[in-house]
Each structure stands twice: as C-alpha cells, then as structure tokens.
C-alpha cells in the first residue's frame, strides 16, 4: 500500500493528521495549478482552499479506483475550470478554434535564447505563464496536468474522461498554441536560416 493510500484510508476513518499530511503533500501543486489556471494569486488561494475542503467532504466516497493524486488533480482542475466559467473569464481561443494547423507557423525559438541566468529563467517562466493564460481553459488544463502535476497521458485521460489519443493531440495543440503565443510576444524569436529554407520560414 503506498503512502497516499494509507493516508487516505486513515483520513477516511477520521484521522485528521493523515488528512493534513495529504494536504501538505499536495497543497503546492494544487495551489500552483489554481494559480496557473486563474492567473491570480487571490483566486488561486480561494480555489485551492476550496479544493481541499471539497476533497475533505468527498473523501469518504473515494473508492481507490484511481490514484488519490489523480482524483485530487481532477477535482482541482474541474474547480478551476468551473471558476473560470463562473467568473466569465474565458480566453480568446476556444478549443474548437479551427484552422490551428493551417495557421501554424513553423518558426521555432532561437536556441541562443536559452536562459542562462536566474533572472532570464524567471522572465521566461513569467512569459510562459502569460502565454498559458491565453490558451483556452481546456488547453490550459491539459498542459498544467502534464507539466505541473506530472500526470501521464493515461492518468490525464482518466482524470478528464478523455481518450488517450485525445490527450495526446490536445496537449500537442496546446503546446503549439503556447509556443506561437511566445513567438508573437517576442519571447521566442526566429533565428536566421541555418539550413536550406523550407516552407513556413519567416526569418
């Protein structure tokens, strides 16, 4: 029995220390997810806190059909999406936005941009967070589940009730969209051609 399972079982029997340990284990990730999804520290605080309250309430119904972490991230993610929906803050792109492939530019980030200093890393991280916020909530959600929560495609599929193939393609489209956002904001820029030109080149 892994640690989480042990803790959940104890918490289900009323062990408050066990529940607190679960909170300690996941609070950074849950808060981080809420922060990435909402883009606001205030909102993230509230949503993340609500996630744990809701988890506490629902824990008894947890049947160990998935890992606890997957269950918790699914709960978090749903609550974030719900928050975004209720607060009316949708991004400008929707998931059904057509023509993604058509408009996909082939330019790629300049490797020379690879951040060296802490400051540069911070700047890039900030730009990436901003770019993320310009994705649709569904794209945002899948990227966060993968990159922040570290869930596998299978786990994401389970958490979001999607086919694994959908996870794969949605994640790819989300990354592409995010990369284009970064390019359009000048965070990544096209390098001069370093090999014979191909279609889609912009530099």
């Amino acid at each position: 029995m892994d640690r989480d399972t042990e803790l959940v079982k104890k918490a289900q029997l009323g062990d408050s220390d066990a529940f607190e340990e679960l909170v300690l284990t996941y609070e950074k990730k849950v808060y981080g997810m809420a922060l990435r999804m909402t883009g606001s520290a205030d909102d993230a605080f509230d949503v993340a806190q609500e996630v744990f309250i809701r988890a506490y309430r629902s824990l008894r119904g947890f049947k160990f059909e998935s890992r606890f972490s997957t269950w918790l991230f699914r709960l978090s993610s749903n609550m974030c999406i719900d928050f975004l929906r209720k607060s009316g803050r949708r991004s400008e792109f929707s998931l059904d936005d057509r023509g993604e492939a058509g408009e996909r530019a082939n330019e790629i980030p300049d490797l020379r941009y690879c951040p060296e200093t802490e400051l540069e890393k911070k700047e890039l991280a900030q730009s990436v967070s901003q770019a993320l916020l310009r994705l649709s909530p569904e794209h945002r959600q899948i990227v966060v589940m993968r990159d922040l929560c570290g869930l596998s495609y299978g786990e994401i599929a389970c958490a979001l009730s999607l086919e694994e193939g959908t996870v794969k393609s949605r994640l790819f489209r989300a990354r592409e969209r995010m990369r284009q956002e970064l390019i359009s904001k000048g965070n990544f820029f096209s390098p001069p051609p370093s090999k014979p030109a191909k279609g889609g080149e912009r530099a």
């Binding site: 909402t38 709960l75 607060s87 980030p109 991280a125 990159d147 790819f172």
Partner: protein
C-alpha cells in the same frame, strides 16, 4: 529554420516519454539530423520546465486551509469523529508568530480570545488582505454551486476565508483602492474611546447631506491579475454611510436574509435602503460571533486591511448584507 510538421506531434510525445518505443529510435535519429525539429523539442522542453517550476505557497495558506477543514468537521458534514489534529496547536503557534511579525508593522489588530481553533483563522485574517483595501464581495463568484468533479455534488462553502499576501502584486493597485474605504471621509481625530461609544450609541444618520452610498458590493467579477484584465478586476468595494463612525478592531461581512439571531443582542444600525445592517460587536465577542455565523452556515468575509481597522479598538463591526 523550420521543423517538420509530420514530426511535431511526436516530438511532444517524445518529450513526455509517451512516444511508443518502436518510434523513438526513428525520431531520435531524425532529431540528430534536423536542427529545426531539435529546436522544437528544445522549445517544448523549456516551456514544460517553466511550467513545472514550483510556485511559492502563500504563508497562511496551510493554516487557513486546515482551519477551514476543521470548521467543516464542526459542521459535521463528514466524519463526525474527526478530532482536532495537531494543526490546531501548531497553526495557532505559527499564527502567533505571524501576529508578532505583523505587529511590528502595526498592521494587525489584537486577537481577543487567542486560543482554541478560532485563533489561527482570526490571525490569518489579520494579515493584510491581498486586495489591499479592496473589500472583496461577501459573495465570492465561486461561493455557490461550485461544481467540482462528479464525486462531489456542489455544496457551497459556508464561509469565506482570509487570503494571503499577494506574492505577485497587482500591477495597478491604485485602481483597486480607488473606491475603497479610503475615499470616504472619516471623522477627524476621534479617539478610540469616543469612537467605540459613537459606534455603539450615536448611530443616527446625520441626514443633512446627500446620503453616501451604503455598502456596495459589486458581484460576479472576480479579481484578476492579468494585466489586460485589470480594469475589470475589482471584486467589490465598500463604503460606509456617514453615521458609521470610528474604528473597529475587526470588520466582517456576512450575506444573510436577516441579521442572525446570535447577533440580535448587539446594538445595530440598519440601512434599509441599502439592504444592509451594521452590528456593533464588542471585540471580545467577535470570535464568538464569527463562530456562530460559521455554525449557522453563513458565509462571512473578514476585511483585514482598512483605515477603519485599528488595533485595540473595543468595537468590531459585522455588516449584514441582506440577500
């Protein structure tokens, strides 16, 4: 330099370690010969790394969460036997420390009855609100019918909890302050003693000037920190009628159809038009009052940073927003 479209999706999978093994070798050798695709992998990888960076947890997040959970237990909705755990003592101790630190800055109000499970909540609330003067609406946008996953049919959280200092300050804090209490004229140099007497007794409307707006809560829009969102980012604002004078050691608001019975014994002032009632609670009873609100399943919000909040004031204010 460009990448090859036919490989792009595989590169994303490859990064995640999800590309089927039999395709890995082919992609790996392609990546060696194609700088464009190698760059794409690099780009995805740096985005991925940036997103994996851990964010700092606001310092009162944990204690606030555990306190909220303990309230949940009190409500008996789940696990009636759930005993108070170590967090009660631990966070009370941590909160004491926070109180001491904030006390240095003179921003905190004293916590009457600093013991028991209420204390850490109260102390958390004493931290400056991240909204910096903005009174967040008692009706937070997600407070009702906040549907989570299928496992948890939406039951709304019966209380609002305090927030952490904002780790990433909003780029336009002035905007948020613009309609906060700071814009309301306050009586000059009212001594705390006078203030509390005024607050408790002399609460008749002056009636000579245009009535200032009662408490105004703008609902629905949440606070956002997107730069482009800033103009519509106000969560709510509040200003007091002129007859609400003096300072308070704590201010809380609660959305309720009527003043709860637990507060019926205290002096109050109703603003019928604004649908608001002000209840003046001795600071020593404030914790008890909050507890009663939580027990009654009423959502309340504590305002932690405002000019009207003064450490040591004998009176506290509970604002009932009639729903």
């Amino acid at each position: 330099m460009s990448f090859c479209e036919e490989y792009a999706a595989s590169i994303s999978e490859y990064l995640d370690g999800e590309l089927p093994e039999n395709e890995c070798a082919a992609l790996a050798s392609h990546l060696e010969s194609c700088p464009g695709c190698a760059s794409l992998l690099e780009a995805y990888s740096s985005m991925s790394e940036a997103l994996a960076l851990e964010t700092e947890l606001p310092e009162n997040f944990h204690s606030g969460t555990m306190y909220a959970v303990s309230l949940e237990k009190k409500r008996g909705s789940f696990l009636g036997r759930f005993a108070f755990g170590r967090w009660t003592a631990a966070t009370a101790a941590a909160a004491m420390l926070i109180l001491a630190i904030w006390g240095i800055y003179g921003r905190v109000y004293p916590s009457p009855g600093l013991s028991g499970p209420m204390s850490d909540y109260h102390l958390d609330s004493a931290l400056p609100n991240s909204g910096s003067g903005v009174i967040a609406g008692a009706d937070a946008p997600y407070s009702d019918n906040f549907a989570g996953s299928a496992e948890d049919a939406g039951e709304s959280i019966p209380y609002a909890t305090s927030r952490a200092p904002d780790p990433a300050p909003d780029p336009v804090p002035e905007q948020k302050n613009s309609s906060s209490l700071k814009s309301m004229p306050l009586p000059e140099a009212a001594s705390p003693d006078a203030a509390r007497q005024d607050a408790a007794k002399d609460t008749q409307p002056s009636g000579d000037s245009a009535p200032p707006p009662a408490v105004m809560f703008s609902m629905g829009q949440s606070q956002g920190s997107d730069a482009e969102d800033a103009t519509s980012a106000e969560a709510g604002s509040l200003s007091f009628p002129s007859y609400i004078e003096g300072t308070f050691s704590s201010i809380a608001s609660v959305k309720a159809p009527a003043a709860p019975e637990s507060l019926s014994g205290y002096p109050s002032q109703a603003d019928v038009e604004g649908g608001v009632e002000y209840i003046f609670v001795p600071s020593s009873d404030f914790q008890q009052a909050l507890d009663a609100l939580a027990e009654a399943g009423l959502a309340f919000h504590i305002y932690s940073e405002d000019e009207r909040i003064e450490a040591g004031a004998a009176s506290s204010l509970v604002i009932i927003v009639k729903s």
